[in-house]
Amino acid sequence: MLKTLMQIGRVGVVSEAPPAPDPALRLGQALRKEIARVFGRALAIRQVDAGSCNGCELEIHALNNPYYNLEGLGIKFVASPRHADLLLVTGPVSRHMEIALKRTYEAMPEPKWVIAAGDCGCNGGIFGESYASRGPVARVIPVDVQVPGCPPEPLALLRGILTLVSAAADTGG
């Protein structure tokens, strides 16, 4: 126990400041201001791998490490889509995951948002569209924000998430 406490003391707090939102990541119309106001930054995310190579998952995991400290911003990953405000989707959508992805989206309460993460989620990536792959996430469910990258870095993912929830970045009304 003493060793554990000493280690915690030795390391201290390594968390870093979050990035600024970037309206350029938005897809389609801007968010309604009141939604952003109600949620503030208290956001529950359900992540779905719809067919990724698992590279994006590595960087999504990193959001929870002490440097990015996502939970410190009031944002957390939840186990059920019924508890989620935001669906974070990776991968080209494999045809075998198409129904599961749609059902997950439908199980979420309104209002709800979707981020497509990674080059594959944004445009199908190197896998494209085929007998086995539907390609980009937006072909299967509505997408609000796209975060490209192969894999996208944690800061890019964080920027995408904060872009969604930041009322300041909202240009609509």
Partner: protein, 512 residues
């Protein structure tokens, strides 16, 4: 034994490999002999050779004391069939089903259920047949799959997935339980199948390296190296020494990053969140140094045909060098904390055990096999450059439980840190990329690399004009997923996440 050895003709390349052609009628007799000699089945796949007047072909890759053994079996166009091999090599069962789903080549007497095919394409349409017409547009439909039912008083089923409760890849687990005790687990995988083998056939040999790196992102360096090794075998060229040392550096750093991540997650799954916070911090430092030295946290495209994409300059070398010893000190401190933590060791010890005998019987590979008393490690058994100069220390543990898989990760982590220091210290000078002559089209090329999870295999055939004719990437998860079904028997349901994480198998690498 001599007669079976004499039939193999050597294949050029970084790993010792031989090739033989068999008749379907003699396949089982040879497989029985190779099994008796201690060979394990590494991969099984099929190809359509009708455009070359050859019907179909079954390919099997074995690993034994002499290296990689590739056997090819010509199958008639009218009846592309061969005898079931799953009684000899249990790992063959799912590979045979997958080979049928993709090519229509059938194992007679094997499990007739589909494996990689769910409901996305019809049962009589085979994506890897060269004359397969474009598939008709198909509405997504749910799959009906014939799970094995367990009957008895008080038995009920728990279906889990494909969407899991965390940040995890998708797959389905069907538990049959009494109370909290698991009687049986049946896996249903294939959800992330994205047609990678078919996609390869639309790429040039050079472009293929990018796709190979994305078969399983957590093993990108191992896959990219295995692919390039296969291509360089076809081209009859070896990359410059410096490039090979840099490739090994990246593969060892990939092992370090994954082991750090798993060690943290295993602590977390046993209720010790401190472990996740600490190890994920160390992993983040490794990734940031990757960014500094290789230009990306996950440099998927650093390993390229002929060598590596960029050289390491003095400052980048320094970035990597200065990090290694502090990282080792930190990991040692954390290991002492893990070892002393009674609650943690209670959860790890005896949980999800695969005995050494079962590991042999199932053909377990890689990290999980070494945690069940097995010794195979390509870096030690068939050390290609630079491993031939590094004398990699083999890590093995007889326990077979979660605790053993944790111990092997710690030991391999420290060994990889040592290897990274040795690589940086003795990094040869010179070029980092060689020109590739045209690839041979009359033989396959093989690449095999000991990734962090186990041996990654890529078998490659070149077509005319520098295109890929056939590429089969094989993930060690194929062998180890069935073992997970055994490891959970008799354990309680709440221990499943911990047992599963202790194997940490790839869904994407398996589903392809």
């Amino acid at each position: 034994m001599v007669s079976s050895a004499a039939r193999f003709s050597p294949l050029p390349g970084a790993v010792p490999a031989g090739l033989t052609d068999l008749e379907a009628g003699e396949l089982r007799a040879f497989c029985e002999r190779w099994r008796a000699e201690g060979a394990s089945l590494m991969a099984l796949w099929a190809s359509d050779e009708r455009d070359r007047g050859g019907g179909f072909r079954l390919h099997l890759a074995f690993l034994d004391d002499r290296g990689l053994r590739v056997a090819r079996v010509a199958l008639a166009e009218s009846a592309p069939e061969y005898p079931d091999l799953s009684d000899l090599f249990p790992a063959a069962a799912r590979m045979q089903r997958a080979a049928f789903d993709l090519t229509g080549v059938r194992a007679l007497g094997g499990d007739p259920r589909p494996w990689l095919r769910h409901a996305a394409w019809p049962a009589d349409w085979f994506p890897l047949r060269r004359d397969a017409p474009a598939p008709a547009p198909r509405e997504p439909q749910p799959e009906v799959y014939d799970f094995v039912a367990v009957a008895g008083d008080g038995v009920h089923e728990i279906p889990v997935g494909p969407v899991h409760a965390g940040i995890i890849e998708p797959g389905h687990f069907r538990f049959s339980v009494v109370g909290e005790k698991v009687l049986r687990l049946e896996e249903r995988l294939g959800y992330t199948h994205k047609g990678i083998e078919k996609r390869f056939e639309s790429l040039s040999l050079t472009e293929g390296a990018r796709l190979a790196a994305r078969v399983s992102g957590d093993s990108a360096a191992a896959y990219a190296w295995a692919y390039c090794m296969a291509l360089e075998s076809l081209c009859g060229v070896a990359p410059p020494p410096r490039a090979l040392w840099l490739r090994a550096l990246l593969v060892e750093r990939e092992r370090i990053a994954n082991h750090l991540g798993d060690l943290g997650a295993l602590g977390n799954d046993a209720g010790f969140a401190f472990g996740l916070a600490q190890f994920s911090r160390l992993k983040e430092q490794v990734l940031r140094d990757n960014q500094g030295a290789f230009g990306a946290r996950y440099p998927f495209d650093y390993i390229v045909p002929g060598g590596v994409a960029r050289d390491l300059d003095e400052a980048q070398w320094q970035t990597l060098w200065t990090q290694l010893l502090p990282l080792q000190d930190e990991a040692r401190r954390l290991r002492a904390i893990y070892d002393d933590h009674g609650g943690l060791q209670d959860r790890f010890a005896g949980c999800g055990r695969i005995s050494p005998e079962l590991a042999v019987r199932l053909g377990l590979v890689g990290l999980a096999a070494r945690a069940s008393g097995q010794t195979r490690d390509l870096r030690c058994d068939f050390p290609c450059a630079p491993y031939d100069r590094l004398a990699v220390n083999r890590v093995t543990h007889p326990g077979g439980d979660v605790a053993a898989r944790v111990a092997v990760r710690f030991d391999e982590l420290f060994e990889s840190l040592r290897l990274c220091r040795a690589i940086l210290e003795h990094l040869p000078d010179g070029a980092v990329r060689a020109e590739l002559p045209p690839a041979a089209t009359d033989r396959p090329g093989c690449g095999a690399v000991e990734g962090w999870r186990g041996p990654v295999l890529v078998a490659l055939e070149a077509g005319p004009d520098g295109r890929i004719r056939r590429c089969h990437p094989h993930d060690p998860s194929w062998q180890n997923w069935p073992a997970l079904e055994y490891a959970v028997i008799g354990n309680i349901v709440p221990d499943f996440p911990l047992i599963n994480k202790s194997f940490n198998l790839s869904y994407s690498g398996h589903d392809r």
